[in-house]
């Protein structure tokens, strides 16, 4: 988890803690709504990026750090298990970690599980792909063309700060209960974080690079390809990571609302049987899936754009 240089007290920007849980990153990254050119937020961003603001009291040893990251959770799980076995808590309501993990294995190794997993993953993949393409495109258009931004940014922001999942009931009317509706729900959830982060990235890029490119005769398209898009990439990765979390939520909600296959369907089936152990196991499976997805986007993102780590730029 933590990078090797995690503990070095060398004054650095945010990237000293690049291994942070990413909720850390989200605040800044979803912030930029208001950071249009000259937005009130810009100066604040500078203050946060000032080097050396992240000095940590040093943990004496790496071992101690590992211990602190593992032991509290382990102790909690052990107490939970013991309380369950000793009948101190009602196992019917809470189950126990051991039973849940056995159930996770049981569910995953069931024959039909592959079908259900695929039923959830397929719309997720299509929706995220669509959201990435349209979000980046729209973000760049909004950032680069002033009148489009002035006209549509307020509408985009209004949609951004409202629960798009509320469209689920009407999407059922329009599109039925097939996969198409879930794809749209995923897209709706994921496209706005991507769009807004792309836009923020385009705004916050180093303008002198654009000037340099222009003075060497770059056309608008060349500038876009060689300056703007590379500068936006870290933001796009952040947006995509947040968007994929929202997309996963969308899939589960959509399937729970109406479907006959998928993880959300399995959750509702367990819910109707008041099967707490199964519900816990399914929640754990979705959490593992989500964590795997976002962690690989983070890691993949920093491989893809080695020149800047994701959290170093999110403001």
């Amino acid at each position: 988890m933590p990078s090797p240089d995690h503990e070095q007290p060398v004054p650095q920007a945010h990237d000293t803690r690049a291994a942070d849980p990413a909720p850390d990153a989200e605040p800044h990254s979803t912030d930029p709504p208001s950071s249009g050119p000259g937005g009130a937020r810009r100066d604040r961003g500078d203050a946060e990026l000032r080097p050396g603001t992240r000095r940590w009291p040093r943990l004496s040893q790496r071992g101690e750090q590992v211990a602190w990251s593992v032991l509290p959770t382990a102790v909690f799980l052990a107490l939970w298990e013991l309380a369950g076995r000793g009948d101190l808590i009602n196992v019917g309501f809470t189950s126990t970690p051991w039973a849940i993990s056995r159930r996770v294995v049981g569910i995953v190794t069931t024959d039909g599980f592959g079908t259900h997993a695929w039923a959830s993953l397929e719309p997720l993949a299509y929706g995220l792909l669509g959201a990435a393409l349209s979000g980046v495109l729209a973000g760049l258009i909004l950032a680069e063309i002033r009148w489009v931004r002035m006209t549509f940014e307020p509408a985009v922001m209004a949609l951004y700060c409202t629960p798009r999942l509320a469209l689920l009931p009407v999407l059922i009317i329009w599109m039925g209960i097939g996969m198409g509706r879930t794809v749209v729900i995923v897209w709706l959830g994921a496209v706005f974080p991507i769009l807004i982060n792309t836009m923020a990235g385009a705004f916050e890029r180093d303008r002198s690079l654009s000037l340099a490119a222009r003075s060497f005769g770059a056309t608008r398209l060349t500038e876009l390809r060689h300056v703007t898009i590379p500068a936006c990439l870290p933001h796009i990765v952040t947006g995509f990571r947040i968007g994929s979390t929202r997309g996963l939520l969308g899939v589960i909600v959509s399937e729970m609302y109406a479907s006959s296959a998928g993880i959300g369907f399995l959750i509702m089936r367990s819910a109707n049987a008041v099967d707490v152990e199964g519900l816990m196991a399914l929640a754990a499976i979705t959490a593992i899936a989500g964590t795997t997805m976002t962690t690989s986007i983070r890691v993949g993102g920093s491989r893809l754009i080695p020149w800047r780590s994701e959290s170093a730029v999110v403001v």
Partner: protein, 260 residues
């Protein structure tokens, strides 16, 4: 000088307002046109004029305000719980490295889980209706509030802390006089994200497990193919989201100005 700039700012502000309104107008016009031309049956898509008429006629009656009130209560309670838990915990995690390390794994794990997966468990634990809706809203809103509060504390300029320390500030005075004021902008940024997610949690919770609130109302209206009622409530939901967001932005501006 300042007068000139003031006029410039006002002109730009007006331009922005006009353009933004034009944006909404375009979207509504397209919607209206699609229905008027007959490409889509208003039975399925309603239309802006229908929505407006219903909104104006029924806003005085109980039909929608009951739901708005219910959603506002759940939303407020969920957000309140998330803030009451997230800010202190975030402050402590930001200040004490060990706590941060201990919470990092579980928080990251739960943050990445689609919170709705916990909804049936909430129903079993807390019961149908408001408790579950509030729990879902609080769960969703907790993460950004917690993460921003801890990032805010971690981002406090160490020289300020050193200065306060060398003037003899204890841990409590340090928190009250240095860390808290310096991290307010980040905490508010977290609040703004948390508001959006709390509303999401409240509405989705109501769609599934409640018998009041805008989420329930939308679900109900859609089940009976009353698309106009559905869109009225969607508009009201959007209004709550936008107003909450703007209120927080205003607070951010007010509370951040002194930082220079």
């Amino acid at each position: 000088m300042s007068v000139v700039r003031g006029i410039g700012v006002r002109a730009e502000w007006l331009q922005r307002l006009a353009a933004g309104l034009a944006g909404f107008a375009i979207i509504l016009a397209v919607w209206e046109l699609i229905v008027r031309v007959g490409w889509v049956d208003p039975f399925f898509a309603s239309s802006p004029t229908l929505v407006w008429q219903t909104l104006v006629e029924d806003l005085g009656s109980d039909r929608f305000t009951v739901h708005v009130r219910s959603t506002l209560i759940s939303f407020g309670m969920g957000f309140g719980i998330a803030a009451a838990a997230g800010v202190p915990l975030g402050f402590l995690a930001g200040r004490y490295r060990r706590l941060d390390v201990a919470l990092e794994g579980p928080v990251w794990f739960l943050y990445n889980a689609p919170s709705m997966a916990f909804y049936p468990l909430f129903i079993i634990w807390f019961g149908f209706g408001r408790p579950t809706v509030v729990a879902l809203a609080a769960l969703l809103a907790f993460f950004p509030i917690y993460a921003n509060a801890s990032a805010g504390v971690r981002g406090v300029d160490p020289t300020l802390i050193k200065a306060a320390r060398s003037f003899g500030a204890g841990e409590l005075a340090l928190f009250a006089k240095v860390i808290l004021p310096a991290s307010i902008p980040m905490v508010l940024a977290g609040f703004r994200l948390g508001l959006g997610l709390a509303l999401l949690g409240a509405v989705v919770g109501e769609i599934f497990g409640s018998n009041s609130g805008l989420g329930y109302g939308m679900h109900h209206a859609a089940s009976f193919l009353r698309t106009t009622d559905y869109f009225v409530m969607l508009v009201l939901t959007v209004a709550i989201g936008v107003l909450a967001n703007e209120a927080l932005r205003w607070a951010e501006r007010r509370l951040s100005t002194w930082r220079g």
